[in-house]
Symmetry: C2
Subunit: 354 residues, 2 copies
């Protein structure tokens, strides 16, 4: 493997000194880029794009050609695991993800198996290997998975939901069944992420998009406990370097203290929590990643720059901060505004280091 | 006016002793009730229902005939004020509220006036008077309004939104214009709620449904500051009793401490915050209202009862707690499950009082 030319992302995640705060953007490969939209239409469906390692690599690289980002993230869907379990993932036009075979009773839960990553999700591992070759050591590659709870919401509901009626119904009424579902899913995530690491992912992130719809006690029991189990099961060293693990619960600002005890290296923070408050809560046990409001990209480059300055100041002096949006980039923002954000982070952050 | 037979809701909001924890449910008059659906179809459109004081009274009373609730809440829409400002509220089938004339530039903001409640929103005041007569002193009536920030999101976006691109665009790029919009809206809310109080509302609640999409600093500047201004402008005594004011920011668990300093009497709390943590944060400066996960109503009556017990225990001993859901009741729950919740609160809560 080629030596890594820019490792400030990995260093910051491990609280090691950096000269500049590293920055990447959740969903940096996406619809706001015209070149992404071209590749996407060339691919056919969204799922065709995810399942084509060559095109998945292409869209992963696109934002890096435009902006001096400090990390790449594997382009893939969050629901590849349930798809590999046989749930039949498809995308209804304008309606988001759907499953042909949702998991709604005991028989369906018991029938779930742990997919073999190289056999059943080989297209993801091929994408990881292809991207690593293409990156050629410029910046590290982040692998990722959805959290067990987040995957379970889609698996039980059969798609997106606002009320979470079926998945919470199962959680409240059949907690032992929900635990079995989460347990199988957690085992699958462990094996999936370890395969990504073996294929070349240099850091991994677990997206708990829907942990924030739970009560504090249900969050600990049905989401955090399984993320903790995953963290314990992951390969933590590869190619002679530590592989940092990032947990991100959207809307989880109140639980950062508990999350910091999971054994992970870093926590994603959304923009509803001040980074100074978050840092005080986690007391440098973990690094923090975030947390500018993604809607700031609707404002002018000048205004974006002042907002970047505020976020840098809220984290304050020292390493342990990876700059990011507090959630995925909106599909209708101007790419030049994303450029202004990345530039501002690199220009303004050296004052907080060294 | 008839004397109030059951005032435990008002007493709890003022931290006065009660023998039983009072309970009501956000959106207790609503689609989950077959009798509501009948009245709704009889009325014509949803807006026709809101604008007909007789039918608005009828649906307000419906849940009280089924369940021994400790408060009634005015049936109305959150967007009556912008409608009275001339924005032209309508409901596109299956798409939620829309405005014919959204407020998207300086001219539109400057053209906004403060509606006269009795002239322009007379149907709301008529509904309040009709409901008070019909209640005949059984339980108190809650009046309500949206918060200025929450109203502004609909006014600027022209309807519901997921990205808040236009309203946040204005907030980031033209903060002085946003302040002018919020200022006019706050004046309108003050005059609207004072008219509701004059017409007979015995407590008022401000729903800040979308304050939780802001950063902590933007929340204080663009939402909380205006709710504070409203609290200061409200009539606080009527019919010889204090009129308690409740603020509720959905997703505002991290900001309860700041909200408690607004001068309000009580805070609504959603289910992502433990009531014990919330109580510690507000240190009995204000009462708390909430906070069971509304999805618990998908579970069995037995399971609902144990969840009610947990919420009562998390608040703990003493007055200052009004039991409620952490958000509106889902439209597809079984009314018998709502009955089980109300019953459990009344049966289990005396252990925490006296």
């Amino acid at each position: 493997m080629t030596e890594l030319k820019n490792d400030r992302f990995l260093r910051a995640l491990l609280h090691q000194p950096v000269e500049v705060t590293p920055v990447w953007m959740m969903r940096q490969a996406g619809r706001y880029l015209p070149e992404y939209r071209r590749t996407r239409s060339q691919a056919g469906s969204f799922l065709d794009l995810c399942k084509n390692p060559h095109l998945a690599c292409e869209v992963t690289m696109q934002p890096l050609r435009r902006f001096p980002l400090d990390a790449a993230i594997l382009f893939s869907d969050i629901l590849t695991i349930p798809d590999a379990m046989g749930l039949g993932l498809y995308f209804a036009e304008g309606e988001g993800p759907r499953f042909t075979n949702p998991v709604q009773d005991e028989a369906a839960v018991k029938a779930l198996g742990v997919p073999d990553p190289e056999q059943d999700l080989g297209y993801v591992m091929d994408a990881v290997r292809t991207i690593r070759r293409e990156l050629d050591g410029t910046v590290p590659l982040i692998g990722f998975s959805g959290s067990p709870w987040t995957l379970a919401t889609y698996m039980v509901e059969g798609g997106s939901t606002k009320s979470f009626s079926k998945v919470k119904g199962m959680m409240f009424e059949r907690p032992e069944l929900m635990h079995q579902l989460l347990s199988t899913t957690a085992e699958s995530v462990i094996s999936y992420l370890n395969a990504q690491i073996a294929a070349g992912a240099q850091a991994v992130m677990i997206f708990d998009t829907w942990g924030g719809v739970l009560s504090p006690s249900d969050y600990r029991t049905f989401s955090l406990a399984y993320m903790k189990r995953i963290v314990q099961g992951l390969t933590r060293e590869s190619e002679g370097r530590r592989v940092p693990v990032i947990l991100f619960t959207k809307g989880g600002g109140q639980w950062l203290g508990a999350m910091a005890e999971s054994g992970c290296d870093a926590l994603g923070v959304d923009w509803t929590t001040d980074l100074a408050v978050a840092r005080e809560l986690v007391k440098d046990r973990v690094a923090l990643q975030g947390n500018i409001d993604p809607s700031i990209l609707y404002a002018s480059p000048q205004r974006i720059r002042s907002a970047v300055a505020e976020v840098l100041a809220s984290y304050g002096y020292g390493s342990g901060h990876v700059f990011n949006l507090g959630h995925g980039i909106h599909p209708d923002v101007n790419p030049d505004h994303a450029a202004a954000l990345v530039e501002a982070v690199h220009e303004l952050s050296p004052a907080y280091h060294g």
